[in-house]
Subunit: 386 residues, 2 copies
């Protein structure tokens, strides 16, 4: 069996390690420390920095194919690996679009994909020229943001001025985007293999709070099949055009008029796909491994069709000891599946998630309520803490 190496030791690598056990692939991880989420459970751990060309290439020498649990490996490091003949999946040419939101938006426009109106901004005057009277306006760091970090919704020119000043101080390039008053957020997750095979998961609804994904409902309730198919085809065509190998998550706005706009792209396992671990025939982590290994892709279909599966993220609360609360949650709802990341508990930090696959009789609302109660109890010790 080939050896897959994943750069990054977070929870995505941890859950990929779990999936690798099943398919029998040898899995290695390059983590920043032996105590990271994936380091704690992976047999073959290399400790080093994803920013160091030396560390990454020493790691790659131990692997047949290299993939990633985040998008923070510098593009120059990726291209030097490729020049040395390493199989890098996804490759540098695709990953650059996750590292440069401006390039990504420009590329999507060129592909004819629907995106919010955007522009480059370096000054308050630029923001005013972009937005006119239309506040709020969204300012984003061109590189490096995640989980709501690097995104600022500015209600006024004064807000924008403060963001511009802060960004200038830290030498962060910004772009502006129209504020989309969406009906809800959706995500289309697909996989693409080097052989060109594609597989699309059912389109899901995501619920973000302060930029952090808190809840996912699979499939998105009430989404018209034509729109769902449109979202899947959009994701598959973006993956094909950008040459993505592995997973591609396309975060979408469903506007009040029912149109779709692309918000973000991720080329790795994604929070919006955690539900697949308990609700789909093939988890996103196994699917990513299959794709980067150029194995035939697995069925992305729902296991509990025609039921829904709900995922809720567990955020850390003030009390670092979750174990007693864990027992309560398991006792209260035996169908809840808890996935812990082995992370130190810090307030607001993602430390795990729960999945709840419903039966055909369970309503979406009841499933959401049960999943939220479990996540809330694990955070606060009370079922209605948020």
């Amino acid at each position: 069996m080939p050896i897959v190496g994943m750069v990054g030791g977070g929870q995505l690598a941890r859950m990929t390690a779990q999936a690798a056990i099943g398919i029998g692939a040898t899995f290695r991880v390059l983590a920043e420390s032996p105590s990271e989420s994936a380091s704690l459970v992976t047999h073959d751990v290399s400790v080093g920095s994803h920013l160091s060309a030396d560390d990454v290439s020493a790691f790659a020498a131990l692997c047949d194919v290299v993939t990633f649990d985040h998008e923070h490996v510098p593009n120059a490091v990726l291209t030097s690996l490729e020049s040395a003949g390493v199989l890098v999946r996804p490759g540098s040419a695709a990953l650059r679009y996750t590292q440069d939101k401006l390039a990504m938006r420009e590329r999507l426009v060129a592909l004819g994909a629907p995106v919010p109106r955007f522009g480059t901004v370096a000054s308050v005057a630029d923001v005013l020229a972009f937005a006119g009277e239309s506040f709020p306006v969204v300012l984003k760091a061109v590189s490096g943001g995640y989980d709501g970090k690097g995104v600022w919704v500015c209600a006024s020119p004064e807000d924008a001025a403060a963001v511009i000043a802060g960004a200038a101080e830290r030498e962060i390039a910004l772009m502006a985007e129209e504020y989309v008053p969406f009906r809800r957020e959706l995500a289309a997750l697909i996989a693409r293999s080097p052989s060109g095979q594609g597989a699309a998961y059912p389109v899901v609804q995501t619920v973000q709070v302060e930029g952090i994904c808190r809840e996912v409902i699979a499939p998105a309730p009430g989404l018209h099949p034509v729109v769902a198919e449109e979202a899947q085809e959009l994701a598959l065509s973006i993956a094909s055009a950008l040459g993505v190998i592995g997973l591609l998550a396309v975060e979408l706005f469903e506007t009040r008029s029912g149109a779709l706009l692309v918000n973000e792209l991720a080329m790795r396992p994604h929070n919006s796909g955690h539900w697949t671990m308990d609700g789909s025939r093939t988890s996103q982590f196994e699917q990513h491994l299959r794709a980067v290994l150029d194995l035939p892709l697995g069925s992305p279909s729902l296991l509990n069709v025609p039921g829904f599966t709900v995922m809720a993220n567990i955020l850390g609360g003030d009390d670092p000891d979750v174990y007693d609360r864990y027992i309560h949650v398991m006792a209260a709802d035996p169908a809840i599946k808890v996935h812990f990341y082995g992370k130190e508990v810090r307030p607001g930090r993602k430390i795990g998630h729960v999945n709840l696959a419903g039966t055909p009789e369970d309503s979406v609302d009841s499933l959401r309520d049960r999943a939220r109660r479990a996540a809330s109890y694990l955070r606060w010790g009370t079922e209605d803490g948020e």
Copy 2:
């Protein structure tokens, strides 16, 4: 999170390691070598012998609770752990019944559980006295058998004489059992926690070939609900009477008249429960961990209700390189889930299994056919190799 230690480094420990990642428990394994199935994927591996009191107790000192992937740890080693205050789950008092089939049969009779007629035998005369004219008769090693090893179906007194002679030479104690002309074999898998909570999986049908489990169908097709409940209650009551903590698998004969007879007991994850990885809300491996950690048990219900799930074991063929055949199987049937054990391929050796969770529309026969084709191809490179 507590640290669970599993003695034994086979595929059951490997799949338990996989489940431990999800629930966030720290998992250690005591394996005989660094290349065993579980050693290859577990972060914390101790190498040592399960027969050595020193090795096992040094291992136990690293763990909060100790459990097992086989029943071969000598009872004296178990009791010395217990005397030292180690949490051993299941405990020595329960495990002795998996180590001594005669004691197990006698205990089951005392409990009123239905078992085949049995007796101790040390000579051909004893066998003749037991069997009379009723050949075939089954001779079994009282201790140490598994996967058909240690079980001999004797068609004649001459067969029995040969077994008796061979056993005497190797100092193996034997027992005799009536040959049960069963309609089919079933298995009832349950979990029991120290708090006394029990959870019963749906009763399954198992298909053995030459003593090796080859196929499992969940739930057992056409089994009358009253009989299924009887089997579950039997398993729960045996677990309670014997003080089993963790999983208990009760292998059963369904006789031609429809009665149930207990064949074997196992107090660990069991081949008849591998289907739960892809067909139940809680896999048997997670359930075993929950039970030995005294966590509330998970829901054992089917995910794809009212569909069936079929498991087929993958045995090794002559060609040690399964990878090319793997690709074929994945391409031929994207719903097939392959679980490889990372074992060196040897003819006839269990090297993995496939699971196939059906939709409500899939017939049992079509699912069995698909699972068998996949397992056959992985062994022989042809879909009708067996």
